[in-house]
């Protein structure tokens, strides 16, 4: 077969020798329900080749390219409307920035102004973003968890992986360090760069390394489907409730029970630290869950 670029593959995905109709796992239940029905006797899946579809296929790459160009044009127009990078009279450089930089640490208690902006000043936007992420994760799980047969890793590959001394010993040394660094980034989110999302991603990659080196079975003692769901629901519920509380207090001008504390202390910045922990746990579990779903079809 001639070597192809990604664009070639995308353009000719329907003509390649790899026929998806053979590889779909949908055929399993059909065979199980009607065991005496021979596979050849099944009606052949008609290849959609009438005129409209063929025109659609021929036009598809051009229309896709045109759409991409139009979108790029719109985005570039929007960029042209923005003030020049670093210009002094930009809107981001006037009172908004002065407020955030000047009084951010005092008002939110977070030394890391980014954490203060994300989880305090602009927490409403962050809550909306996390809903978008939650919907996306739910869609991925709905799509990938419906596989009728659970795909176990082939025994051979698992044995090779578990017997590989380089992988196992490297993982033994590296996993604690990665996890420790991840938790440090989560807990230190209001004091330095990092925060819940970045730290959670680091923790998740540590868990993934652990799963690759030692197998899913050992990791299941720590994190199985049940505890996965519990952690996710508890953290998301805590996040929403805590944010609802602070929105309620902020909108009505009430004092919250979470004080800003002394900036620079680990137990300061009010709600930012617990929110970072919740976000970190959710992100770490979700990253590991995505890996497990991709790798073996279940968590």
């Amino acid at each position: 077969m001639k070597k192809q670029t990604i664009f070639d593959r995308l353009r000719r995905w329907d003509e390649s020798e790899f026929d998806l109709t053979d590889a779909l796992p949908l055929e399993e239940p059909v065979r199980r329900i009607e065991p005496d029905l021979d596979r050849d006797a099944l009606p052949p899946i008609p290849r959609l080749e009438h005129g409209g579809v063929r025109t659609f296929r021929r036009l598809y790459p051009w229309m896709a390219g045109l759409l991409a160009l139009v979108l790029v044009g719109f985005l570039l127009l929007a960029v042209l409307e923005l003030p020049a990078f670093g210009s002094a009279d930009a809107p981001a450089h006037n009172e908004v920035m002065a407020r955030y930089v000047g009084q951010g640490t005092e008002e939110t208690g977070a030394v890391n102004t980014v954490a203060g902006v994300i989880l305090d000043y602009r927490a409403f936007d962050t809550l909306g973003e996390s809903h978008v992420l939650f919907t996306a994760a739910a869609a991925v799980l709905i799509l990938l968890l419906t596989a009728t047969h659970v795909q176990e890793e082939p025994r051979r590959i698992r044995d090779i992986m578990e017997r590989d001394p380089i992988l196992r010993n490297t993982a033994k040394v590296l996993t604690p360090v990665i996890l420790l660094f991840g938790f440090y980034v989560i807990l230190n989110g209001h004091l330095g760069p990092g925060g819940g999302f970045a730290g959670g991603a680091i923790v998740g990659s540590g868990l993934i390394l652990c799963a690759i080196a030692f197998g899913f079975e050992r990791l299941e003692r720590l994190l199985n489907y049940k505890s996965y769901c519990r952690i996710l629901v508890c953290c998301l519920g805590f996040y929403s409730l805590a944010k609802c509380y602070s929105f309620y207090c902020g909108a009505n001008g009430l004092e919250t029970i979470f004080s800003a504390g002394t900036p620079g202390r680990i137990l300061s910045a009010g709600l930012i630290l617990p929110l970072n922990v919740a976000v970190g746990l959710v992100v770490g579990c979700t990253m590991y869950g995505f890996y497990a779903v991709f790798q073996r079809g279940r968590i």
Partner: protein, 92 residues
């Protein structure tokens, strides 16, 4: 032009080279590795733009998790293709 500016220009040029070559390579595995390199360069660029938060996230997500997921997807595709090929040889 100071050395720092030269370094930044080099990084930006490498970004463009990585972005284009990731699309144009014939081998999907090579394309993925170039994509990882793109993320690593991008995280250095974030540090130079004084956004360390973004740099950490880019390194963890762009170079780590999303590359792992893409590698698994590539492996699955190869497995599926091999199964199909085995079935075809069985039929013959």
């Amino acid at each position: 032009m100071t050395g720092m500016e030269l370094f930044q220009l080099m990084l930006l040029g490498l970004l463009v080279v990585c972005g284009i070559s990731a699309c144009l390579t014939k081998n999907l595995l090579v394309s993925l590795i170039i994509f990882m390199a793109y993320s690593v360069i991008m995280s250095v660029v974030w540090v130079l733009l004084q956004a360390p938060d973004l740099a950490i996230t880019e390194a963890a997500v762009g170079a780590g998790i999303s590359s792992i997921l893409l590698f698994i997807t590539l492996k699955k595709l190869r497995d599926m293709r091999r199964e199909v090929r085995d079935e075809e040889t069985d039929d013959l």
